[in-house]
């Protein structure tokens, strides 16, 4: 698998009918195989940025390149195959009557023949440790189970890059640990949007801090989390008693 690096330049975006910019000169370079945490306060533009990586918002200003592909209408289908996005609310991601059909939805759209889909579905579900959920109804799963199935739905499309929007929300500590192990075991380039700073430190060597729709800090996670002035200025807070230099 060739892992695609990502390059984002001067991205600006205003929601229709709003006047302030949700993204305001957002820039980010990611190297193949990297795992990067995207940190930042509520409303700083993280989700808006994630949507852009899948071409779900019309590009207003700036450029996005995934591997050798420029973000434009002609490349949209291939970019959506390469970039697997796991959205903030797993309920939005699961819409088919069974987990099996839901995980098969992406491959089916990509034209994978029926006979080959079961193997793909089973492999993706096994990867996330959710093989036992295969015949369940997605809407009746617990939050953590939904999250794992949601990750399986994008893994089934064999993406080069994973973008996860707050993947730890709603997980218990054990589920969170399992998720960390899973993400570290995956070969894909990963962007992990999170408010969970210890989680970022645990799995992402590098972190960027987003504020006001742009990247305001970028560096090794341990250094970013040690910069108390930076954290305070961006409403980021480590859990009580947590010392990033002693992990």
């Amino acid at each position: 698998m060739s892992c695609a690096p990502l390059s984002v330049d001067g991205l600006c975006f205003t929601y229709p009918g709003e006047h302030h910019r949700a993204l305001d000169g957002f820039g980010l370079q990611v190297v193949a195989g990297e795992r990067v945490a995207v940190l930042g306060p509520n409303g700083s533009g993280k989700t808006t940025f994630v949507m852009h990586l899948n071409g779900l918002h019309q590009l207003q200003q700036g450029a996005i390149t995934i591997g050798d592909l420029e973000m434009c209408d002609d490349n949209l289908a291939e970019i959506r195959r390469r970039v697997g996005a796991v959205f903030q609310d797993a309920d939005d991601q699961l819409f088919m009557p069974s987990v099996r059909a839901d995980v098969a939805f992406g491959p089916a759209n990509l034209g994978v023949p029926k006979g080959d889909r079961d193997a793909i579905v089973e492999r993706a579900l096994t990867q996330v440790g959710a093989m036992d959920l295969i015949d369940r109804t997605p809407h009746h799963l617990s939050g953590g189970e939904k999250r794992r199935v949601a990750i399986a739905t994008v893994l089934a499309m064999d993406p080069h890059m994973l973008v996860l929007d707050e993947p730890t929300s709603g997980l218990d500590p054990f589920g969170r640990r399992e998720l960390a192990d899973l993400l570290v075991s995956l070969p894909q380039t990963q962007l992990v949007v999170t408010h969970d700073l210890p989680f970022a430190l645990q799995i992402c060597p590098r972190s960027v801090v987003v504020s006001g729709g742009r990247v305001v800090a970028d560096g090794p996670t341990s250094e970013v989390l040690a910069d108390t002035a930076l954290l305070e200025a961006n409403r980021l807070e480590l859990p009580y008693g947590f010392d990033p230099s002693r992990v």
Binding site: N54, R81, D91, S98, D135
Partner: protein, 255 residues
Amino acid sequence: MGGGHGSSVDRLHIAGNTVIHRLAPQVKIVATFAFVISVAIAPRQRVEVFAVALVCVLAFIAVARIPVRVWLARCAVILPFMTMAVLVPFVGGGEQTEVLGVSLSTDGLWAAFNIAAKALIGASASIVLAATTPVTGLLEGFARLRVPRVLISIVAFMIRYLDLLVAQLGRMRTAMVARAHDPRWLWQAKPIASSAGALFVRSYERGERVHQAMLARGYTGVMPDLVEQSRPRSDWWAAIIVPAPVVAVLVLGLL
């Protein structure tokens, strides 16, 4: 546990493996359509046509193993039509007939019978179709019948919004009950009614997000062939057999 049974996406579908369940969706759509049309065009005095149609529909329900209770409950959608039908003979003019000492319009009685019979048979046929075909199968069936993609997308959206609306309503009701408001009946729940607008917007936005998640996984406006099993062409016999008895009786009467 049957996949899809009772899921929120497929409220009407009843999992099963009967002959009717296994028919290709496009065949079922055409068969249902032909059956309903042949009943709808029958002149109202041709009572025998409606009798045959009713027997056919009851046979389909039996073959598809749809519980009689479910069938009757779903028939409730035609209650407004039935109420209307009952009123017609009282207000109709022209020749009068005595029924239990009440003078009723003969023409009105026929009109009432016409509405009631056609509504009941049409609704029952649709109930069989919906109960034996998952939503995704229906969408795929329409696609195979070359129904324009835009129309299919609209139908898909309608189904999803409707479904999300019902789910949201359930959640709002839970939230209200949790705060000691106990709406036994929907129409007692003033707070629900007054926030219907907000509810619709919320459902709409969720629908949007679901749609975006679908796009992110390569959705192009047509459901991929996930549920339906590819059926040989020989299935099409069903589209002829289903309306055949009704059409036969209808035509025989014309000779």
